[in-house]
């Protein structure tokens, strides 16, 4: 009688690295494995002693069958022993590896072939603490799961190198900005300017995820880290200890009007001629002068130097400028002849506080006007004081400011004279410690030269293919293999690519309300807490 041996059907091919490149890994897993795009997996290289990490970028059905189209002709829904021949082929990109000394390194080498692929535990990510910064924004996400013990934090030192926040409506942009502000208030490593035309950041109040949202004033770090300048009525200001917002005429320049109104070439010439004229002089001159066809105004006006400069322009051109100035003054109730909050804002920024400019009910023009004024002021003052390597703050430390521009495609799109100050800031602000936080739903409408200047990308779900392509193509770390993940990001999830963190990190952004509660718990208790409060 002959001997028959049991055939070993144990599958040794699954969870073994078979990729053939430093930049892309591949391995097979059972066809019913619950794996997701964005999952981070560990590859234990027993031969070299390194532990590699890789992020899943794609999952495809595959099989051992010779006919690759076998699955297009099933006649029934029954498949015997399917798992032996049908499997999922996993594509992953390397994130880096931890060497035998426990140091995380960029993926410049490849794991030994057939190295075991495993699901990492939270403790496997402890090395990430080495590379995280001081501006916590969320927890690391792997596929569908959140590693609550692995906090994702940006580095405040890279903020002047500009940041981009890209998200379509409803993806959690406002929540991210509030969390970012809260961390900035706690870290106090740079000043942050935020203009809010909707009045949602100060004290919240709207609905967020079905719950009452809270504002920046509710953050435990707000007492020391927040300065709010608002146009709201006194009672509200007193309730939350807010400052009144005022700008004086001398805060603005004629060029600000280029940003706010459409102009003909002749009108632009007028504005350029007035570039060095203080705002108060402009208001005074244009309010008092009637530009008649006979040019009698040239001899009659009280500012002969200015009249001489503008005398050759058509009265209709000058009348348009006058009308625009009137609109500017009338539409912005915070603009007055004397008395400005700008100095206080600069002081708050110098003290590394978050400066929130609260303009509820104001229009786009007011928002852009203030942004333009503040950005120019910051740039000009810093250029004046620049040592060439940034602005020396207290203790000789470089003082940094980040200016947030919401819907940034309005001012950072195609080149225009009115957006000069923002473009200048994007191009050379880093030298002077002034960075831009570019927030937009349409990165494809941002000038690519400006996108190239951004060193931190926070991508929160972009449904438009060309938007994703633009973002992936300009980020310092290549995001193109993560296209599927970006496309499928849930609300509140982000992919963060920034200097200091060696790979793009999938992040579940903290819910602001939960985050400030956790900050509350972490806050040192007052020395007197628990003592009797009365005799």
């Amino acid at each position: 009688m002959m001997n028959l041996n049991d055939t070993d059907v144990t599958d040794h091919a699954k969870y073994r690295l078979v990729g053939d490149s430093v930049l892309s890994y591949r391995f097979a897993v059972p066809f019913d494995e619950r794996l997701f795009v964005g999952d981070i997996l560990k590859i234990a290289d027993q031969e070299k002693g390194n532990t590699f990490f890789a992020k899943v970028t794609d999952l495809t059905h595959s099989s051992n069958f010779d006919d690759p189209k076998w699955d297009t002709r099933p006649h029934t829904d029954r498949f015997y022993g399917l798992g032996e021949d049908v499997f999922l082929l996993v594509e992953a990109i390397p994130l880096g590896y931890v060497d035998t000394g426990g140091v995380f390194r960029k993926p410049r080498t490849i794991p030994t072939k057939f190295s075991r692929v495993e699901r990492p535990a939270e403790e496997d990510f402890l090395f990430l603490r080495q590379v995280m910064g001081d501006l916590e924004v969320g927890a690391m996400r792997t596929g569908q799961d959140v590693l609550s013990g692995v906090r994702v934090a940006l580095h405040s030192r890279v903020m002047p190198q500009h940041m981009g926040v890209f998200a379509t409506t409803g993806m959690g942009k406002s929540n991210f900005m509030k969390v970012f502000c809260a961390s900035a208030m706690r870290a106090r490593q740079f000043g942050l300017v935020l203009v809010d035309p909707h009045g949602e950041y100060v004290a919240g109040g709207g609905k967020a995820a079905g719950r009452e949202s809270r504002g920046l004033v509710h953050c435990p770090a707000a007492a020391d880290g927040l300065a709010v300048f608002t146009i709201r009525e006194e009672a509200y200001r007193k309730k939350y200890s807010l400052s009144s917002l005022w700008l004086e005429y001398d805060d603005f320049r004629a060029e600000d009007m280029l940003l706010l109104f459409e102009h003909s070439s002749a009108q632009r010439e007028v504005i350029e001629m007035l570039d060095d004229v203080p705002g108060s002089t402009l208001v005074d001159f244009f309010q008092r002068t009637e530009f008649d066809e006979a040019r009698r105004w040239v001899g009659a006006c009280g500012n002969p130097a200015l009249a001489h400069r503008l005398g050759n322009f058509a009265p209709t051109t000058l009348s348009v400028i006058r009308r625009h100035l009137q609109i500017l003054v009338k539409a912005n109730p915070f603009l007055r002849a004397r008395g400005s909050s700008l100095t206080d804002m600069e002081k708050a920024l110098a003290a590394n506080r978050v400066v929130l400019i609260d303009l509820p009910g104001m229009g786009e023009r007011s928002e852009l006007f203030i942004l333009s004024v503040i950005t120019r002021r910051l740039l000009e003052s810093r250029k004046k004081d620049a040592t060439g390597w940034g602005i020396a703050g207290e203790g000789g430390k470089e003082q940094q400011v980040l200016v947030t521009i919401e819907e940034a495609q309005r001012v950072l799109g195609e080149a225009g004279a009115g957006t000069r100050v923002f473009r200048e800031c994007a191009m050379e602000g880093r030298k002077f410690g002034v960075g831009l936080c570019v927030v937009t739903q349409q990165p494809k409408n941002i000038d690519p030269r400006i996108l190239a200047q951004l060193n931190t990308y926070v991508v929160m779900g972009l449904s438009d293919r060309s938007d994703r392509a633009i973002v992936a193509g300009h980020a310092k770390q290549d995001l193109s293999p993560m296209d599927t993940e970006i496309q499928t990001l849930d609300q509140g999830d982000a992919i963060i690519s920034t200097l200091g963190i060696p790979f793009p990190v999938s992040t579940r952004i903290h819910l602001y309300e939960d985050y400030i509660r956790s900050m509350e718990r972490e806050r040192p208790k007052p020395a007197g807490e628990g003592l009797p409060t009365r005799f």
């Binding site: 009688m1 002959m2 001997n3 028959l4 041996n5 049991d6 055939t7 059907v9 076998w70 002709r73 099933p74 006649h75 029934t76 829904d77 029954r78 498949f79 015997y80 022993g81 021949d85």
Partner: protein, 341 residues
Amino acid sequence: MTADNYREDLERAVGRIREITPPDLAARFQEHGGFDAPSFISVAPSWTGQVVAIDGSNAMVVEGGSFSVGAIRAVASCFSRGTRAFLAGTGIRLVSIGREERDRDFADLYRECFGCDPITALDDRDRVLAASIFRDTLEYGTATTILEKLNETDVILLDGALRVSHASHDPPISALVRQCARKGIGLAAVTKRTTATWGGGFPLVRSVVALSARLGVSAPWCLRVPDNLLDGTRYREWVHGDTWVGLLHPRAGTAFKMELPRGTTGESALGVFSTLAACSDDGRVTGYPYPLLDAHRHAAITGDTLVQLRQNLIRKLDQSGLNFSDFRDLFGDYHDELERY
């Protein structure tokens, strides 16, 4: 050859094909066999027991003008109620095929499989046939061994036919049929591509399928085809099975010729066909008993395996003192050179 010659050849080939597939094939077959709708037995799929499919594979590892080494393997795959119960096999065996009238390895393998000497030696002069007989020996040996593990209502399923192609296989097949009958174990062989014809060349399976359609018979069904309807078989004494044709699933694209041991009664046959229909519902090979595909996949000696076997042989020859030049003289094939161009 001119274009006219080619066109004539093409016409002739098509004409021959049309001759054996006339539009009234079903009617002719019905008249020839005296069949009617009740002749077809309706089959209800049912797992009455285990199904053990046995399949073998053979391939040449090296092939010279005067000497070849072949690889053979047989596998038994057992399924019970849709799940594999076990998978066992012989492992790969190597056999030498020279230009001898009495192959030396054959007797050894035969004894290993059946515990006795073959009644007829294996003539190596037709090496392709010799290799297939080696494979069949291993398959029948596997079936004989597996039989010990099985119980009443289980079914042994062979790939091919219950018909031997070498006299030495007659005793073991006869014994297998007898023992299956004694233990109440079903035995069937499924032919993937049959040569069976009737009426002087009409294809059998196509005729039966056409007839079932003509009579409106719903699958699954089976039909016993009497021997006297079929065109002649060369060695009737080597045939151990009755001929059946079965369509085992309503969505099956193909019917198969099957053989059950001679004299299998209708009730026993129905039990076997019910079990076969039950395991013929796989979405990939609907209508074909899946255990046979499983056995086939695990028995197949693939190109990769052959390369490995060839390298093992070369390494061993090298250790024995034979150099590559000797190897090339023995087993070199100038076709390989030609294939470069």
